[in-house]
């Protein structure tokens, strides 16, 4: 059992009579997988809400034959979970409707109702077995969402390749008057895990600038990757890919993507161009 699993608490919601045994089995499987389980049926009314609020996620088992009275119980726990889900983005609701080959009348209306309510941070699974379901659950919960790197909010984030260090220094100096930029140099032999850092920093920057002159073969692939890992069109800021007119083979290079502009200017005009773009963004921000 991992230490991490031990710390995670799971709220196992009330279920209908046809899945009671399955629920009990699920509780055991969850514990075997290293989770702490708060079983709704064993809790008093006061403990009920409290335990749900203290849990990292809730699990709701739905069978094929949910009668009216059981629906009420299920809905009650489900509503509580949804309430918590709406305020805590790290709380996940798991709904498990194990697939059966039963040809008898299935409570499809109720199940459709649940399925149509699925939103972010809700998982609807129909695995046949409890072990498969818990495997999935563990995979979802243990995804490391937090990045390791400390980043700070910045207006301009400037990235360049080590081949362009000399020219970049001049640009950085000139940008000090506009807004002191956060900078990153990409070295081919460096051990730094750039991806995670860039992904976080881009989302904390108003304008991310990628500058190149001599590193022409590196720039476009790099731009593609950081656009992707940062979230593409969903980033809060903007990207600016800026190259010198004297870059080799510049006429054959192109890059188009949402929230990205690609500029080719004379060397001496690069800082000015960055400023122009930055000013536009700032203006939009103030007008919003």
């Amino acid at each position: 059992m991992s230490q991490q699993s031990k710390e995670i608490k799971i709220f196992l919601a009330q279920t209908s009579s046809d899945t009671n045994i399955l629920n009990q089995k699920l509780s055991t499987v969850l514990q075997k997988a290293g989770f702490k389980v708060a079983i709704s049926e064993h809790l008093s009314q006061e403990e009920h809400t409290e335990e749900l609020m203290l849990s990292h996620c809730s699990v709701h088992v739905i069978g094929d034959f949910v009668d009216q009275s059981s629906q009420a119980f299920l809905n009650q726990d489900f509503s509580l979970a949804q309430e918590k889900n709406s305020t805590d983005e790290n709380f996940t609701i798991f709904v498990w409707h194990p697939e059966t080959k039963s040809k008898k009348q299935v409570n499809s209306a109720f199940i459709n109702q649940i399925r149509n309510k699925i939103n972010q941070n809700m998982i609807f699974s129909n695995h046949e077995s409890a072990v498969m379901f818990v495997e999935d659950l563990r995979g979802v919960i243990s995804v490391n969402k937090a990045a390791e790197y400390q980043v700070k909010k910045t207006e301009i984030f400037l990235i360049y390749n080590s081949l362009d260090s000399y020219n970049a220094k001049e640009i950085i100096e000139m940008l000090q008057d506009v807004s002191p930029p956060e900078t990153l140099v990409i070295e081919p032999s460096s051990r730094t895990d750039y991806e995670k850092y860039i992904a976080k920093q881009v989302n904390n920057s108003m304008l991310t600038v990628v500058y190149f002159k001599y590193a022409n073969e590196w720039a476009i692939p790099f731009m593609q990757q950081i656009w992707k890992i940062s979230g593409g069109a969903s980033i809060p800021g903007q990207f600016l890919l800026i190259a010198s007119k004297n870059t080799a083979n510049i006429q054959n290079l192109e890059f188009e993507a949402p929230k990205t502009s690609f500029k080719i200017v004379d060397d001496e005009l690069i800082p000015l161009e960055i400023k122009v773009v930055f000013d536009k963004i700032s203006k939009h921000k103030h007008n919003d």
Binding site: R115, N119, I123, F124, S125, V140, N161, P188, R191, A257
Partner: protein, 1086 residues
């Protein structure tokens, strides 16, 4: 918002699409890390796992973007596929990237070993650490689809690699080794399907490299799948609902094709949602056939209904079974239907094909783009011109073929490569030599129509192989007439020829000859001409024989008529004689009165006798005429002559004894009646001869109809009718009861009704089954891998479970159920145990140092005989509640199978090295019966009633031994695939054979020369087969699924008959059965 789809569909991601390649970030990082450290890596995984995408859209972009610790910023990506000339292809990519003349590179590479590194070092891109002017570049070599080293006969055939292939692999391995040793910025990557790993031993050093640096592409976890689905849409500025994501994840099939199907579905969803302008949701999934309309919310149901009502009737049928796995099938069917209309609109195509020609082109093209490899349909790259030649119609040019296929090459489809680039009009029209390829094998496995074509083609190929055997036999015997085909087989192969329409191109495509193209074609042409000649000569020979028979029939018929007349004359004469004899009697009685009267009477009698003699002579003449006509008529003539002779004697004796004459006259009447019967028989035989001809034509018609079922008529009822009518024709014409073509037609029609619960009963098990045995119709025993023994009733409900494991038991490695109470289990620590679960006793089996593979119980001796992987045969007896090991015998190789016949004194044993032994129980004596070279004896069964022992071999032969004489009585070639299992019915009238190509063949033991019934389907791996007592066969698939099938055409016929609700209309009968065939009501009570 960008218009292009962030989901590529069925094809792999390209490097340009890497921005949308999500879900594999951790895997990319692991591969990059491994490459940084080891310089070389092989990326393996199942087909459809995304190996190529992982490299092209994951690793390479990461490298170019600088997320790869190495010497230079710049990268040279030298990627190639081995195809048919791996060394040329490697040289070409190196030449293009390093900017060195191709010939120079190619010549250098021929030396192998460090040549590739030497070429790199000589280029302008190699710089050492002290001299980096910014032009230096890292070298990334990618050998994609490495399995082509094994699948192309130019690279690998008869278990050996070609010199060129060997050199190519040597270069790649050495490059990795040198790069690591000298810390060069050179990286070597292979992608290969994991099912080819075992073949890597062909190349020295390759297994070691796999052990050194391999990445096995794992299955995506749930959160990774979520990224695959949701992130590309977000990156492209679109949205996808969370509930849709969940449903897609839940509906994904396990196993192959998971990712290609998902990407295809996502691509379709994106397009359906107006290229991401709408949020992708359930309604779009329903509109592409992947979600049930009734599960939509109310307002979406209205939207769906509007959409559905706008479709034509044919397209509506594709939505009958909405589910995730139907999406690709629906899309492909839609394109197939639309192809004709699409082609009609093409301006650049001068001569438009007809609808029938369009269908033919598509069918032939897709069949050409697939081939059979180890019994499975896989992709086959083929030139456009080859397809045209296989079609072999004058006005179908390569342009026409290209135009028809284009609908499958469009950006929204991309089922066939190369794809059409909307920005490049020229990509619409392909050159004659253009090589085409199916984008992914997922299309073959999931497009039902293509699958059917594949099955049909497999059938044609199987028949072609059979015909080749006959042809070869004829040629080897100097083309003797006795080796020509008989009527039945000729009809069969003529039918095949008509259906398959083979030509030399078709043959060349399907043969695995490792020859240059022009030689291959020449050889194929040769074979084709031989086939045509063989069929023609067989036909001529039969016609000649038929002509002779017709003459004979005419003669017979004439003789019959004459004989009838003669006999009628004789009968009349005989009757006349009787009455005359009676009169004579009266005359004779009066003779005593007057001497004169007597004398006169005597004179009269003499005269009469003379007349009778003349009459008899007359009859003799008539009888002689009949004799001349035929043997039987001759018999009659002789008889008539004898009769006449007899009459003569009677007439002479008449005066002496009137009573005697009366008696004789009576005898004559009886004889005359006999003659009449003979003449009648002759007449019937003549009729029967013409009946036979008619029967043969009905048999041929039955075969044709059974084949027609597979063309699949729109109306399910029509399919059922055609199949059942074929069955009736065959039955009424006295055809072979177990005819496989009739069986296949009935089975196919039955499965169209989709009543799976009545047809192929199928039971899934969540736990893996280690061993199973059908005891009787009410009892089935199953041993799971976890050591639980379950007893199931007839309905497969668990009646009883028993845990057979003890506390400290190791894992079970193998098990064998001997009968309804005895079971042998072998554990990982080589402990072997006998469980008597009826009496709840356990015994340790001594005498083995490895797993027990097979066992049998001998009641007469109260003994267990076990055969193990340690080559030992162990004999143990039950004495005083213990199992005592009495004898052990060492055999030359591992024991694969043993069987014991009831009331015998010996056990038969089959070994891995092809030996067959008998073991005499009383004498503890082993005798070698036969040694088969280069084969394994996989399974043995003793037929107690028929006195045979049947052995199933790894070369696909089924050998029958005479149990007493120990000689081979029959050697039946079943298939090129290995025989894995055998099951013989209790009555010993049926033998079922499980083969390594995942098919089961069923023979009637008294008709082994006939073609067998073949059961095939989407099986993963047939582990066991058993004939159940209810005239069905059980297949154990992948150790988790038990499936039952009907065994005989009769069973399917009964089922199909129940489903038929009407008869043929006259129009249908005339069109399908034939105008010249008298109309019949297939089902009498309609």
């Amino acid at each position: 918002m960008i218009e292009l789809s962030p989901y590529p569909g069925l094809r792999p991601f390209t490097e340009e699409e890497s921005i949308f390649f999500k879900g594999r970030d951790t895997h990319i990082r692991k591969i990059v890390q491994q490459l940084e450290e080891r310089k070389i890596i092989i990326i393996t995984g199942a087909s459809g796992d995304g190996k190529s995408s992982l490299v092209y859209a994951g690793v390479i972009p990461a490298a170019r973007a600088g997320f790869f610790r190495t010497q230079f910023n710049n990268w040279l990506i030298c990627d190639f596929r081995p195809e048919r000339s791996p060394l040329d292809n490697l040289a070409l990519t190196l030449s293009e990237n390093l900017k060195i003349d191709f010939k120079n590179v190619r010549d250098e590479l021929d030396f192998g070993f460090s040549s590739l590194i030497d070429v790199y070092k000589k280029s302008d891109f190699y710089k050492d650490a002290n001299n980096n002017d910014g032009k230096g570049a890292n070298l990334f070599i990618l050998a994609d689809q490495f399995e082509e080293f094994f699948t192309n006969p130019e690279n690998y055939s008869d278990g050996k690699a070609s010199a060129e292939a060997y050199t190519a692999v040597n270069l790649l391995l050495e490059t990795g080794r040198i790069a690591l040793a000298e810390n060069l910025p050179v990286y070597v990557v292979f992608t290969m399907r994991s099912d080819f790993i075992s073949q890597s031993v062909v190349f020295k050093g390759l297994p070691e490299m796999i052990g050194f640096s391999q990445f096995f592409v794992p299955r995506l976890k749930r959160h990774e799948l979520q990224m695959v689905i949701e992130d590309p849409a977000k990156l492209a500025g679109g949205k996808i609902s969370a509930r849709l994501t969940q449903v897609l994840i839940n509906e994904l099939p396990d196993g192959f094709d998971q990712l290609p199907l998902l990407q295809h579905a996502l691509n379709r969803l994106w397009i359906e949602a107006k290229h991401g302008k709408e949020e992708l949701d359930f309604i779009h999934l329903a509109q592409i056939g992947g979600f049930d309309r009734d599960m939509l919310e109310a307002q979406d149901q209205n939207t769906y209904d509007t959409f559905f009502n706008s479709l034509d009737n044919k397209t509506k049928t594709y939505f009958q079974n909405p589910k995730f796995t139907n999406i690709l099938n629906l899309h492909a069917n839609f394109l197939y239907d639309q192809a004709y209309e699409y082609v009609k609109k093409l301006n650049w195509l001068k001569e438009k094909p007809t609808r029938e020609e369009t269908d033919l082109i598509l069918r032939t093209a897709f069949k050409s783009l697939t081939k059979i490899d180890n019994g499975r349909a896989v992709r086959n790259r083929v030139e456009l011109s080859e397809i045209k030649y296989i079609i072999n119609k004058k006005h179908v040019s390569t342009e026409t073929v290209c135009a028809v296929l284009n609908i499958f090459r469009l950006p929204g489809s991309t089922f066939v490569k190369p794809f059409i680039n909307e920005k490049d009009i020229e990509s619409e029209i392909l050159p004659t030599k253009q090589v085409l390829d199916i984008t992914h094998e997922a299309l073959i496995r999931n497009w039902q129509l293509l699958h059917q074509w594949g099955v049909e083609e497999l059938g044609y190929l199987s028949d072609y192989e059979d015909l080749k055997i006959q042809l070869l036999r004829w040629i080897e015997n100097n083309q003797k007439k006795s080796y020509l085909l008989n009527l039945g087989t000729l009809s069969y192969f003529e039918n095949w020829f008509e259906k398959a329409k083979p030509n030399d191109f078709w043959i060349a495509k399907n043969e695995n000859w490792a020859l240059p193209t022009n030689e291959k074609r020449k050889k194929a042409k040769d074979v084709f001409e031989h086939i045509v000649d063989f069929l023609k000569q067989s036909k001529n020979h039969l016609e000649h024989q038929a002509a002779s028979k017709r003459k004979l029939r005419i003669i017979l018929f004439t003789a019959s008529i004459l004989a009838i007349l003669a006999l009628s004359g004789l009968s009349i004469w005989a009757l006349n004689e009787k009455s005359f004899a009676q009169k004579q009697q009266q005359i004779a009685a009066n003779q005593s009165k007057i001497a004169l009267e007597e004398k006169e009477k005597a004179i009269i009698a003499q005269k009469t006798a003379e007349e009778q003699r003349i009459l008899a002579m007359d009859n003799e003449k008539k009888a002689t005429m009949a004799k001349l006509a035929s043997d039987s008529a001759r018999q009659e003539a002789i008889f008539a002559r004898a009769l006449a002779e007899e009459q003569k004697i009677i007439a002479q004796l008449e005066t002496e004894n009137a009573l005697k004459q009366k008696t004789i006259a009576q005898n004559e009447r009886v004889i005359a009646e006999e003659q009449k019967k003979i003449a009648e028989t002759q007449r019937k035989r003549a009729i029967s001869a013409s009946d036979s001809a008619q029967k043969l034509s009905y048999l041929a018609l039955a075969q044709t109809l059974a084949y027609k079922v597979k063309t699949k008529f729109d109306d399910v009822q029509l399919n059922l009718l055609v199949a059942y009518q074929a069955f009736l024709f065959n039955k009424n014409a006295g055809g072979f009861e177990f005819d496989p073509v009739i069986f296949e037609g009935l089975k196919y029609a039955a499965e169209l009704t989709e009543n799976e619960s009545e047809l192929a009963k199928s039971y899934n098990f969540s736990n893996e089954i280690l061993a199973t045995r059908i005891i009787n119709k009410d009892k089935i025993l199953i041993l799971y891998t976890n050591g639980t023994m379950a007893e199931l009733d007839a309905k497969h409900k668990v009646v009883k479970t028993t845990n057979l494991l003890e506390k400290n038991d190791e894992l079970i490695s193998s098990a064998f159920i001997i009968n309804d109470s005895l079971l042998v289990i072998s554990f990982d620590n080589y402990v072997n145990r006998l469980n008597d679960f009826k009496n709840e006793k356990k015994y340790t089996i001594e005498g083995h140092t490895n797993y027990i593979r097979t066992a049998t119980y001998v009641p007469a001796y109260k003994a267990i005989i076990t055969g193990g992987r340690d080559n030992k045969l162990s004999y143990s007896e039950f004495t005083k509640n213990k199992l005592k090991n009495i004898h052990q015998n060492n055999l030359p190789d591992k024991i694969k199978t043993i069987d014991y016949g009831k009331s015998d004194n010996e056990v038969w044993i089959g070994l891995q090295n092809g030996d067959i032994y008998t073991y005499h129980l009383g004498k503890n004596e082993l005798v070698k019966i036969k040694s088969f070279k280069d084969v394994r004896v996989n399974t043995l069964k003793i037929m107690n009633n028929s006195n045979y022992v049947v052995a199933g071999l790894s070369n696909g032969h089924l050998v029958f031994f005479n149990k007493q004489l120990k000689t081979i009585e029959n050697d039946l070639f079943v298939s090129y695939a290995e025989i894995n299992s055998l099951s013989i019915a209790e009555q010993e009238d049926i033998i079922a054979i499980g083969l390594a190509d995942n098919t089961v063949r069923i023979y009637q033991t008294n008709a082994l020369g006939e073609k067998p019934i073949i059961i095939s389907g989407k099986f993963e791996h047939i582990d066991d087969i058993q004939l159940s007592t209810e005239n069905s066969i059980m297949l154990l698939d992948n150790r988790k699924k038990m499936m039952y099938y009907f065994l005989t055409p009769n069973d399917y016929a009964e089922f199909v008959k129940e489903k038929i609700s009407r008869n043929f209309s006259t129009k249908e009968w005339n069109s399908i059965v034939g105008k010249n065939v008298p109309f019949e009501k297939t089902i009498n009570h309609f």
